[in-house]
């Protein structure tokens, strides 16, 4: 066994784990790791904040299906990781975050740039480690990657004191981890699977409700099963891309701002098979009106999700989506649901009513999203920020690529989209990566334009600028008697001029007839580009399901009562 420093051991295992890119921001306490990174083949991308690094690692992880890695120093570097770690935790994204820490002799003394980051991140990590013995480093790093990527994926933080990184490491390099308290269940219970198959056979109006779990595992099996049984599919925000939108069985997103066809189908179905989902409140809205006629099958790898939100689950299955769906596929014979599918087809007519009303400008965001979808065939990687533009993208971008729709779902983190696009483009340099954002969200991470330019990445940013936090404004419209407050951005910059200052190409469009030509030009130019679309702040996102209502009671347009 060769002896090396803790920092070197850490970097060696990153290499062993196949890490090609890390996103980070250095500082005093993490210097030993940076010295080793410099000698490594791993590419380091210096973001403009640590938060940008976490979101970039998140986008990288989602575009590749591998573990994203981000690195910070101690103290403020570590606290800046927090929002990004929480974002990854809520969306079950595999991340390993490595933070520097003050020397063990200083821990607990309120030393310069000391913060208890393992304490802070305990509720938002799948697991975390404070390494106090350099010999533990090989085992800890190996375990961190294993925990992050297996079972229900999630972020793992390793806090590494400076002296531990500098000290000699005599620890063994292990190839297998041994965690007696961590054994995810992959194979579903065969009795429950039989029950599920029975319900699927009996159902006259069965429906698949798929989420992020299908994007992680089993997208192919899901597609096969949907076709074999002729069962339509609704998706959550996190499930977008896991089943191609162009498929005739795809009904789109359900829930708060779900597509009319999807929401009607949920309310009408008699068997609802939730796959890799958690019956989130933005999906169910009003629990006792959610899928009121349906028997519910719930498949998820996390046992704690089953029965947590919807308690009337008829058939719970804990297991890996791909493994369980494989078993189900073996046990079913082809079916047809002609009557149900034609009923569902009729629901789709309502989809076209969901244009925002009161559009003062020629340009509404839906037109841009639809054109982007058409021009790209839904095969690009699209990231979004959080707000109205996110919902419009989720509704009208026809994602036909697994991992091709990247958005902060559970935490709803503004400022996510741009660094996520950076990460995705680093992962897939030859693909088109587009970030759809708003003027509120973009300004939370606008500094990452510099990182994108610095890496010469041809990321396209489509900015819907209405000088307003329009989704909050919409909430004030629905719930605060149109008393708008604290939502108008006075003093927004000239975004095109700003983008140019960062070295981006920039376009500003205000009219419908400019959409296609501008998008075509931007998509073909091979350069980092901003397309600013001026939209009206009075535009609203429809459909919307107001509190206390069932999904089928959504308002499809502004004058719906």
């Amino acid at each position: 066994m060769t002896t090396m420093t803790g920092a070197k051991a850490l970097v060696k295992i990153l290499e062993e784990e196949g890490v090609k890119v890390v996103f980070g921001y250095p500082g005093g306490a993490i210097l030993p790791v940076y010295s080793e990174l410099q000698k490594s083949k791993i590419k380091h991308v210096l973001t403009r904040t640590e938060q940008g690094a976490t979101h970039a690692a998140n986008g990288y992880a989602r575009a590749t299906g591998t573990v994203g890695v981000c690195i910070s120093t101690s103290g403020p570097g570590a606290t800046n990781l927090v929002t990004g770690i929480a974002t990854a935790y809520m969306d079950s994204i595999p991340l390993v975050a490595i933070s520097g820490q003050v020397a063990t002799s200083m821990v607990g003394t309120d030393a310069f740039q000391e913060v208890d980051i393992t304490g802070i991140t305990q509720p938002i990590t799948k697991h975390n480690f404070l390494v106090t013995n350099p010999d533990d480093i090989p085992r800890v790093v190996k375990e961190a990657f294993h925990i992050a990527r297996t079972g229900r994926p999630g972020p793992v933080l390793i806090d590494l004191p400076k002296n531990v990184a500098e000290a000699l490491c005599h620890g063994k390099f292990i190839s297998e981890v041994n965690l007696p308290g961590y054994k995810p269940t992959y194979k579903g219970n065969s009795k429950q699977i039989k029950e599920a198959v029975k319900l699927l056979k009996e159902g006259k109006r069965p429906l698949f409700y798929i989420g992020g779990g299908v994007a992680v595992s089993g997208a192919k099996q899901l597609g096969d099963l949907a076709h074999k049984l002729q069962i339509p599919v609704v998706n959550t925000l996190m499930g977008k891309g896991a089943f191609p939108a162009e498929d005739s069985l795809a009904l789109g997103m359900l829930g708060l701002h779900g597509m009319p066809a999807a929401n009607y189908a949920v309310s009408k179905c008699d068997v609802l098979f939730g796959i890799g989902v958690r019956f989130d409140d933005r999906v169910t809205i009003t629990l006792d009106k959610f899928a009121p006629n349906a028997k519910i099958i719930h498949l998820d790898i996390d046992p704690a999700e089953i029965g947590k939100n919807v308690r009337r689950v008829d058939v719970p299955i804990v297991g890996d989506v791909a493994t369980v769906l494989d078993t189900i596929l073996e046990q079913v014979t082809p079916m047809e649901h002609k009557a149900w599918l034609s009923e569902v087809e009729a629901f789709k007519a309502a989809n076209n009513k969901a244009y925002p009303a009161e559009a003062g400008y020629d340009l509404v965001s839906r037109q841009v999203v639809e054109k982007l979808s058409e021009l790209t065939g839904g095969k690009i990687i699209l990231t979004t920020d959080v707000g109205q533009h996110q919902m419009t993208a989720a509704q009208f971008y026809q994602a036909n690529r697994l991992g091709g729709f990247i958005s902060s779902g559970g935490l709803g983190t503004m400022g996510y989209g741009l660094p996520a696009a950076l990460g995705a483009q680093m992962a897939c340099p030859d693909d088109t990566v587009v970030c759809i954002t708003g003027d509120g969200s973009l300004q939370m991470s606008i500094n990452e334009l510099a990182t994108i330019k610095g890496q010469n990445l041809p990321v396209k940013v489509i900015l819907f600028n209405n000088n307003c936090l329009a989704l909050v404004r919409q909430l004030q419209h629905h719930f605060c008697n149109n008393e708008f407050f604290g939502v108008d951005f006075d003093g927004n910059p000239d975004f095109c001029m700003l983008a140019k200052a960062y070295g981006f190409e920039a376009y500003c469009i205000t009219k419908t007839d400019e959409i296609e030509s501008t998008l075509k030009e931007a998509l073909a130019n091979g350069k980092p580009t901003l397309i600013e679309c001026l939209t009206n702040k009075e535009d609203m996102v429809y459909p919307i399901v107001l509190g206390g209502k069932g999904l089928d009671e959504m308002l499809i347009q502004a004058d719906d009562k």
Binding site: T118, G119, Q122, P123, K126, H127, L130, I147, L179, P180, G181, Y182, D302, P303, A304, G307, K308, R311
Partner: protein, 161 residues
């Protein structure tokens, strides 16, 4: 309803904080928590008394299992188990009252562990009910200080046929 959970965890730094943090952030009420090492020094047993209906206890148990250091969670509420708490209580006692206190302590099979001119310290182990009764019996003398442990518990052995 009160449930008694017996939880085996890896005996590592931070595990108590993970478990207690989980309870507070998910809004579960811990009535008591006692932790100590088992026959295997690498493993600790936590005995947690939690208030809640079956839904809450099922959630608690599933969430506990998600912690990497948690090895086993058993709800032993409906099993045959021996549960014990312990109390140390210092009572104000005039020398003339000592006999009465000694008698009470003997009735409960407690022990006298300290004596001063005006106080006595008593020790008792037993289930929650017994300890409550003991404390009630002493209240009229004036309890100066008291400390109680949380419940520890082990499931009884199976005698078989």
């Amino acid at each position: 309803m009160q449930h008694t959970l017996s939880v085996l965890v890896q005996n590592q730094a931070g595990v108590l904080s993970r478990v207690s943090g989980l309870f507070s952030r998910r809004g579960y009420n811990i009535e008591s928590l006692a932790v100590g090492v088992t026959e295997n020094e690498k493993i600790s047993r936590m005995t947690i008394v939690v208030e809640g209906d079956n839904y809450v206890v099922e959630q608690v148990s599933k969430q506990l299992y998600k912690l990497v250091e948690v090895l086993k969670v058993s709800d032993i509420t409906d099993e045959k188990y021996v549960g014990r708490e312990m109390v140390l209580v210092t009572v104000s006692v005039e020398p003339s009252q000592r006999g009465e206190i000694i008698a009470i302590t003997e009735i409960f099979k407690g022990r006298i562990v300290d004596l001063s001119r005006k106080t006595m310290m008593l020790e008792l182990t037993g289930n929650e009910e017994k300890i409550n009764a003991f404390v009630d019996a002493l209240t009229s003398f004036g309890i100066k200080e008291m400390v109680r442990t949380g419940k520890i518990a082990l499931v009884r052995g199976d005698i078989g046929e």
